[in-house]
Amino acid sequence: MQPTDIKDPDYFHKVVDCQWACPAHTPVPEYIRLISAGRYADAFMVNWKSNVFPGILGRTCDRPCEPACRRGRVEEEPVAICRLKRVAADYKGDVSDRMPPAPTTRNGKKIAFVGAGPAALTVARDLAPMGYHLVIYDGDTRAGGMIRSQIPKFRLPEEVIDEEVGFITAMGPEMRLGQRVDSLKSLLEEDYDAIFVGSGAPRGRDLDLPGRQEGAANIHIGIDWLSSVSFGHITKIGRRVIVLGGGNTAMDCCRSSRRLGGEDVKVIVRSGFEEMKASPWEKEDAIGEDIPILNFLVPKEFKHQDGKLIGMTFEKVHAEYDAKGRRRLVPTGEPEHFFECDDVLVAVGQENAFPWIERDIGLEFNEWAMPVVNEITFQSTNPRVFFGGDAAFGPKNIIWAVAHGHQAAISIHQFCQGTDVNDRPPPMVTLVSQKMGIHEWSYDNGISLDLRFKVPHRDKVTALKDIKSEVELGFDLKLAFAEAQRCLNCDVQTIFSDKLCIECDACVDICPVDCISFIDNGDEADIRTRLMAPAHNLDQALYVSGELKTGRIMAKDEDVCLHCGLCAERCPTGAWDMESFLIDVAQAGMSGAEKACCSK
């Protein structure tokens, strides 16, 4: 193998598994260390810079970082990254003076936003300090988009949304709330230099089964129902409720029902329990609120009597897999199951809908009736129109909307300044030695052996009484510190200098996870089998040095490195060093360096 090129910013970025997995590339270990240090406001700002909505995401994120977390590969569970983000938000105090002020001068460019959801607000936040005139339209009377309309308040209190949306509206965008955009064509005819479409995936899928019309009064589309609950238009539901669907919307529907009078609430899904789209912790919370989840039941018919819904029938199926591993749901032949109910909530998916975009404005749609959008620049085929969030590539999570927003903001800025949108700015990278003394580091390299801590919940009886009463109470400071200590500091990198190595084996002997080997060179597949411990995880790189004095090389499997720094502590020549790697993915308008400064 050739020596690893550690100058490639992606190399160490991938070692920081959580940050690499985060669509917005939040520097996770960086803010977790700040939490350990009690610097909650600083931890919040690190988050805010990357993901814009720390308090919101700290409660609702789909957490792609956690399955990626290295801790999950060396013990049972990953660090509770998401809930530590909430800690930063909960204990930050007043950070309003650290927010970029509304600009005093305008740069003469005017941007329109369709929708005031997470993607649009992210674009607005990135562009506002540069003096753009931003005009944000939304059909709802309050900003936030699906964050406000679809996420139940017992998971995300209104004040958290108000605060974090407020940071952005305070930066001076013109908010045209309650004004739905009905025609992109007429918007294009106004004097906007660019338009950002962040209109979400607003249409809930329906189930066209026998009895749908007759029972209509008691059959509701999940996301519309959640939205009505959210805005206080609906305050009650029947005693017996069936929720159809296995995603997070279904989980929100069933748990909301329990708080609005539903006593016998059940979730019924077509697939198996394991394949449900809902996050495992959301399923767990639903089950914890006495909501059974029945699987492998395909809905057949809405049963009604005297013009009123009385229940539903289902066909029992089981999964069969063909040679290609594709799943088929095959009826078991059992008689149909019948469940009585007063109301049905249909949460079987949501779709994009663009009835307001004319098809003759130079904006192409693909065969699935989705706009053709560049995956890197988020520009549509009409160069003035950019997309992001669920409107770009269909329903995903908030963190994806934020990631889209940052990229779209870069594009819009470059487009408005007349530079090529395909010319993407590079990230800002710093790599700094953490050595302070002979065996002292400026990071805490002791490894906590604690298992993952559970977030305390409000007592169930109290929680179910009030739909606005938040269930999760968040970590207190003691728990937050203990959980933060579980982080392995994967951003503190092991840096090897082959010129300094005397091949004494001290690092090999001390490494608790056997990740360092001194061996003869070979190709990667061969080397992976000859290490101290075989390196089976092909997603994780091997860090390979140049040739050493004995003709061998150093090969380190990054997979389960604890970043404890013992290799560097036991190295007599300083051939190993622990260096903090911070990568700031570029954002609109500011070079990485300027951004990094404003967050510290």
Partner: protein
Amino acid sequence: MTFIAKPKLHHPELHKNSLGYTRRDYEGAISTLCAGCGHDSISAAIVRACFELDLPPHRIAKLSGIGCSSKTPTYFLGASHGFNSVHGRMPSVLTGANLANRDLIYLGVSGDGDSASIGLGQFAHSMRRGVNMVYIVENNGVYGLTKGQFSATSDKGAKSKRGVINSEEAIDLVGMALQLGATFVARSFSGDKAQLVPLIEAALKHEGAAFIDCLSPCVAFNNHEGSTKSFDYVREHNAAVNFLDVISAREEITVDYAPGSVEMVTQHDGSTLRLRKLHTDYDMHDRVSALTYMQERQAAGEIVTGLLYVDPNPRDLHGHLKTSDIPLNALQEDALVPGASALAKINAGLR
């Protein structure tokens, strides 16, 4: 010195041996020796050898004297018996322990100062008595704890870190062990675990006095140019006579080397040593030719390493003394006090 404990977390695929232990279970406390010390590598080799041989840690006794080397038993086999004795007196304490309880596996760890100076007499007598043990000298040629004075194994003409040339003759512990009747004699290098681990395993399997002289560079005081015990010097002058694999009694033996290049030695306990010979004319069953060969090579400036001498059927101290098969410390009162009639019988035999 490292202040944090070595994390308990380990590689998810870490193997367990037949006793259900991982290699990590054979470790001790974290080392307080200088970073990069060769002794730490020897500790790691001992850990690996004991793990691979499935030795129950509580059946091993590790004994040492004084010095950097003698500190190391703290850093391996944390669940074994240990005795940190007086300077140079490890062999006597080990001999006593071995006499009292022959069932334990004895591992004596010493250094060049401990064995070649203050304890030279103790070293010599434990060899000639044939105490069943592994005696490892972690040989760095200097007194590290007192800042790098030459020790008795330092080669004549070697340069100290301060630039002083050693004018005294070196004591060759391997040569002495051979002359004094050790039944297993080897030399190795801390920087070559591929050679060292099987040698320690073979020595642990050997039922007699097994001596290993292990060159172990002192990174703080003896790893400079002019030193004859530095990593670079030992690597450049290392002349291995053979390469060893230890095959336990239950493993299948396969030989896939050219005829004449491999020698199989079955030890008394049933284990087999497979030696890939690097010098085909070297006979490791002949004390005299081994001594001659080593002295020749040493005169030529080479450091001979490998398994230098082995007697596959050794007799140990208990054999010489015809002691009871049951460890003395386990004999019960009826055996120890056989009564008046037994005494009368003995007395009658002496009349």
